[in-house]
Amino acid sequence: MKKDKEKTNVKDKIKNGIYKSIKYILIIGIILIVLYIFFPEQIKSTMDISQRYGLEMITIFPAVLILMGLADVWVPKSLINKYLGKNSGLKGMLLSIFLGTLPTGPLYIAFPIAAELLRKKARISNVMIFLGVWASLKIPQISVEIKFLGVKFASIRFIFTLISIIIIGYLIEMIVEKSEVKV
C-alpha cells in the first residue's frame, strides 16, 4: 500500500513538473514573439546567447541530477544522524564537512536533521558546520560553479566559505553555551 502511494506521488510530481514546464515554454514563447515584433535584432542575439547557455547546461545538468539521485539512495538520512551524533572534536568536524558536501537534498531537508542532532546533544558547532556546508558547498553545486565561473573563483570561494562556516559554527556554540550557563 505504502509503495503504491509513493509511486502515484512520484508520478504526480513528474506530471506537475511537465505541465509547469509546458506552461512556462508557452508563456516565454509568447513573450519572445511579441518582443521580436518590436526588437528583432535584440531578440536574435538573445536567442543566440540562450542557445549557447542552454547547450552548456545540457552537458552538465543530467550528470549532476543523476549524481544527486544516486546519493539519495546510497546515503540514507539515518546514516548522517548516526555518524554526526556521536563524534565531537576534530573527527566530528571533518565528518560534518564531509557529510555536508554529499550531493543530497535542499536546505529545508537539512533543518530537521540538524534539529534532531541537537536534541541528541551533538556538538552545536558541528551541527552548524554541517548545515553551512550542506547549504553552500555541495559537490554538484561546485562542479556547476567551476563550469560557469571558473576553477579559480570556485576554489577561492570554497576555501573562504569553509573557513567562515567553521568560525560561524564556533561563534554560535560559544554564544549559545554562554547564555545557557547564565540561565
Binding site: V10, K13, I14, N16, G17, I18, K20, S21, Y24, I28, Q42, I43, K44, S45, T46, I49, S50, Q51, Y53, G54, E56, T59, I60, F61, V64, L65, I66, L67, G69, L70, D72, V73, W74, L107, Y108, F111, A114, A115, L131, A135, S136, P140, Q141, S143, V144, E145, F148, K152, F153, I156, R157, F160, T161, S164, I165, I168, L171, I172, V176, S179
Partner: protein
C-alpha cells in the same frame, strides 16, 4: 573539462549501482527525473533571462552598476538580493557566470551566490521552527556578515 569529469564520475557510479542493486539504481533514476522536471521550469526562465540580459542591457550599463567601481552599497544590495531570492543555486550559477561575462565584477556576484546559499529569508519559518529563534538569528546574521567579507576577499584575489 568539468563536464567530462562529472559525467565520467556519474556514469561509473551509475554502472556500479546498476551492477550492485537494480532496484536502487531504478529508484535513483526516478528521483533524478523528479528533480529534473521540477528544476526545468526555472532553468528555462534562467536560460532566456541570460539571453535577454545580453540582448537588451548594454554592457556599459552592467559595468556601471555591477562593475569594478565597487561600493559597499553595491555589495550589500547584492547580498540582500541573494538572501531574499529563492533561485536554486544550480541554476543561479550559470546566471552568475553570464553576468561576469557581460561585464560584472566578481565581488557583487560572489556576494550574491554566497548569501543565496547561506542565508535564507524564505526558509526562515522552517529554520525557526526546527532550530529555534536564537540559533536561526545568529546563523543568518553571521552568514550575511561573512558573505560580505568573502566577496571582498574574492574581489581582491580574482
Amino acid at each position: 573539462m568539468v563536464a567530462i569529469i562529472i559525467n565520467g564520475i556519474t556514469l561509473s557510479l551509475l554502472i556500479f549501482t546498476i551492477l550492485k542493486n537494480k532496484t536502487k539504481a531504478k529508484k535513483a533514476l526516478v528521483m533524478s527525473l523528479v528533480k529534473a522536471v521540477n528544476l526545468l521550469p526555472m532553468m528555462l526562465v534562467i536560460i532566456v533571462l541570460i539571453g535577454l540580459i545580453f540582448g537588451f542591457i548594454p554592457p556599459e550599463m552592467i559595468r556601471n552598476y555591477l562593475g569594478s567601481n565597487e561600493s559597499i552599497l553595491q555589495i550589500v544590495l547584492a547580498s540582500l538580493f541573494g538572501a531574499i531570492t529563492m533561485i536554486p543555486s544550480l541554476v543561479a550559477l550559470p546566471l552568475a557566470g553570464s553576468l561576469i561575462e557581460a561585464g560584472a565584477s566578481y565581488t557583487p556576484v560572489a556576494a550574491f551566490i554566497t548569501t543565496l546559499t547561506m542565508v535564507g529569508f524564505i526558509t526562515l519559518p522552517v529554520e525557526l521552527k526546527e532550530l529555534g529563534k536564537k540559533i536561526t538569528i545568529l546563523r543568518n546574521v553571521f552568514a550575511f556578515i561573512f558573505a560580505i567579507i568573502i566577496s571582498l576577499i574574492i574581489g581582491v584575489l580574482m
